[in-house]
């Protein structure tokens, strides 16, 4: 989807950038906590999985080698997405990565009608939970990109244009 920068009003841009920062902060801190907690593993979380995909998540948890890889990818994935969103670097890719992670969290613990989780929840959810909402908030950021205005992607874009001096083209965000 192509969205031109000029289609955003100042309040729209401000709100979207703040939303990007908030989600980035959340991802970065979730990743940092896992990185600094030597005993952290997603094994318990995955073992608590329910629903259609539970067998897959439980199989991952039962395999120590695979679990180590999942823990590594999850931790560094969260950190990379968080950094990307905060500084606005490769933001569209970071958003896709973040949505994939949130999609996996949602699918491993879907709040369907008969679901009962050992993991305590701070709220009450039916079909829709905060993972799903955050996922769609990221979808909003994906279709209304801001990093070409506020973010390192802007500099990347300018740098790209500089190296292609002879062929100025309309820029699509």
């Amino acid at each position: 989807m192509k969205t031109t920068i000029s289609s955003l009003s100042p309040p729209q841009l401000n709100v979207l950038v703040i939303l990007r920062l908030l989600i980035g902060w959340h991802f970065l801190y979730e990743g940092a906590v896992k990185l600094y907690s030597s005993s952290w593993s997603a094994a318990g979380y995955l073992n608590d999985s329910q629903g259609l995909f539970a067998p897959m998540f439980k199989a991952i948890a039962a395999n120590p080698g695979l679990m180590a890889a999942v823990d590594f990818l999850n931790t560094w994935g969260l950190i990379a997405v968080g950094l990307g969103l905060i500084v606005g670097f490769l933001t569209q890719a970071a958003l896709i990565g973040g949505m994939i992670l949130l999609g996996l969290y949602y699918l491993s613990h879907p709040p369907f009608i008969s679901a009962q989780y050992a993991l305590p929840s701070e709220g009450s959810y039916l079909w829709v939970n905060k993972n799903l909402i955050e996922l769609f908030a990221m979808a909003v950021l994906y279709v209304f990109p801001t990093s070409h205005i506020i973010g390192l992607d802007r500099l990347m874009q300018r740098y790209g244009q500089q190296t292609k001096q002879s062929s100025p083209e309309e820029v699509a965000a």
Binding site: T4, I5, S6, L8, S9, P10, L13, N14, V17, R20, L21, G24, W25, L28, Y29, A32, Y36, S37, S38, S39, W40, S41, A43, G44, N47, D48, P55, K58, A59, A62, P64, D71, L83, I86, V87, G88, A118, L119, P120, I149, I150, G151, L152, D153, R154, L155, R158, Y159, Q161, Q162, Q165, P168, E170, V171
Partner: protein
């Protein structure tokens, strides 16, 4: 921040581009500063608690090598437990293998077959099999035969023990046969692994103790929970007086199924022609052939030891391996047959209190104020609500399972300052140890506690899920091969059996049973089981 399209078609990087491009980078600084402050706060709290507790989380030492000539083992009794023990030592029946293969195909989470196949070989050969029921004996032969080993079926345990082809025996018979067989094995110089309860009668316990201590055999009682990974960590916590004076211990059995109440299947081929009934009876009252007594022997005192010998012993031994509190001074028991009124003699709801008036795990209060402890066991075969094992001290409570969780007591003396400063919250574990986690950690979150409670974390050794029965047999075999003392030897077995028999005596007589540690005798009640024979 304002939308900016003025530079859309320009080619140079302007100052405006740099300002807007870098506008959100300072957020990283704010993030770093607050995350570091948070980390430092959490870290200092955690460090303060861990320094105060100083618990050393450690794993049980690995047992020795299994290399060398294969040890020649005989299995006596191939019922439910016998089959499990043989399997834990590396030999499964073809029926089990087929069943597990089907189960794994149906459910990819079912790793029982995979775990079995990946288990390290214990380098043993079952050269002999002994079971009084032809079908089970045949089944055992099928399970243990290999290309290099053609096992022999022995009709009696005496013949097996007389054979030069047997180095060691595993005894998994009804309880009333444990001691006669183990004594004969010790006298024949065969190493023994015997299931709990180690003996059926009080006098047998002394006789077996003498037979084993006067021999050179390696003797192990089948309390496989001694292999639990959290055991040494729990022991260290108690030795460092983390709990303060423990005055009450609670342990429970909670089951609610016919199988859990020993109402086992009766094999269709069971008959006087396939079962050696007279040999089964042994010293039990001579009654005509009775299938139910043969397959469901745990329900009658003549063959079994009831909840005290069957399940109390597990919990007692689990605590005894932590505290080494030994045989109680007084035992009182009560109960009845309340949910399985099927003609059984042994109770299905059972309470035991074991008193240790002189025992103490340590104290943090004025000298002499605290002394004495009660071990309280409560069992129901009519409800399976999980009641945890709790060690309740003045300063903290330890919840003991596969994982280990310690909570500070709100009125603790030792943690008083930390409680006042809110460094310690009585509702959040002061210390938690889950062997399934990647490493060893101190204070954990409520979430981790949930996972530990629900048993969602596996126990691994060397990165692999392992069966504690396998570890327990391995320990026994290692002591035979490499020397050393098994964790549940004759001393521990003696304490387990006497304590359990005191509970049974109390239940049967309605009296408080007293133990004299000096003379090592029960002083006030006769053993009705001995008196009856």
């Amino acid at each position: 921040m304002t939308p900016d399209n003025s530079n859309t078609h320009s080619s140079g990087i302007t100052r405006r581009d740099i300002i807007k491009g870098m506008a959100t980078v300072p957020v990283l600084g704010a993030f770093w500063a607050s995350a570091a402050a948070k980390q430092s706060y959490d870290g200092s709290v955690k460090e303060e608690i861990l320094n105060e507790l100083n618990i050393k989380a450690s794993l049980p030492p690995p047992t020795g090598s299994m290399a060398g000539t294969p040890l020649r083992v005989g299995i006596i009794g191939f019922g439910i437990r016998g089959e499990q023990l043989v399997r834990a030592s590396g030999f499964a029946t073809p029926e089990w293998l087929t069943r597990m293969q089907e189960a794994a195909q149906k459910n990819s989470n079912d790793t029982r077959l995979k775990d079995f196949l990946e288990q390290e070989s214990l380098n043993i050969q079952y050269t002999g099999v002994c079971d009084l029921f032809d079908i089970r004996a045949e089944k055992a032969l099928e399970a243990v035969k290999t290309d290099q080993n053609n096992p022999k079926r022995y009709r009696t345990y005496q013949e097996m023990l007389a054979s030069p082809d047997i180095d060691a025996v595993i005894i998994a018979t009804p309880d009333h046969w444990h001691a006669p067989m183990a004594i004969a094995a010790a006298q024949a110089g065969k190493h023994v692994y015997v299931e709990k309860c180690m003996t059926h009668k009080i006098q047998e316990t002394y006789d077996l103790y003498d037979a084993v201590t006067q021999s050179d055999i390696v003797f192990q009682v089948g309390h496989q929970h001694r292999q639990t990974q959290s055991f040494l960590t729990a022991q260290d916590a108690i030795q460092k007086n983390v709990l303060g004076h423990v005055s009450l211990i609670q342990a429970c059995t909670n089951r609610n199924s016919d199988n859990g109440a020993w109402q086992y299947n009766i094999h269709e081929a069971a008959s006087p022609s396939t079962i050696d009934w007279q040999q089964f009876l042994g010293d039990a009252p001579n009654i005509p052939f009775n299938k139910e007594h043969f397959f469901r022997w745990r329900k009658w005192w003549a063959y079994g030891t009831g909840l005290s010998g069957d399940l109390l012993t597990h919990d007692y031994d689990r605590i005894n391996c932590l505290l080494e509190m030994g045989i109680p001074k007084y035992v009182t028991a009560s109960g009845g047959v309340y949910t399985h009124r099927d003609g059984r003699e042994v109770p299905d709801v059972f309470q035991v209190t074991m008193e240790y008036p002189d025992y103490s795990t340590g104290s943090t209060q004025d000298q002499g104020k605290e002394k004495g402890m009660t071990f309280l066991y409560s069992a129901s075969l009519g409800n399976q609500y999980s009641r945890p094992t709790l060690l309740m001290g003045h300063d903290a409570t330890m919840e003991l399972g596969n994982s280990l969780t310690i909570y500070a007591d709100p009125r603790s003396t030792r943690y008083q300052t930390m409680l006042e400063e809110e460094t310690v919250d009585p509702n959040v574990p002061l210390y938690a140890y889950s062997p399934g986690q990647k490493g060893v950690d101190g204070v954990t979150s409520a979430t981790a506690k949930y996972f530990a409670d629900k048993g969602l974390l596996y126990t691994y050794r060397d990165g692999k899920r392992v069966d504690s029965t396998y570890l327990h047999i391995r320990e026994w075999l290692s002591c035979i091969r490499n020397g050393g003392q098994p964790s549940c030897g004759i001393k521990e077995g003696f304490e387990e059996a006497i304590s359990a028999h005191m509970a049974t005596l109390s239940y049967k007589t309605g009296q408080r049973v007293e133990w004299d540690a000096k003379t090592r005798r029960i002083v006030n009640v006769e053993d009705p089981m001995v008196a009856a024979t």
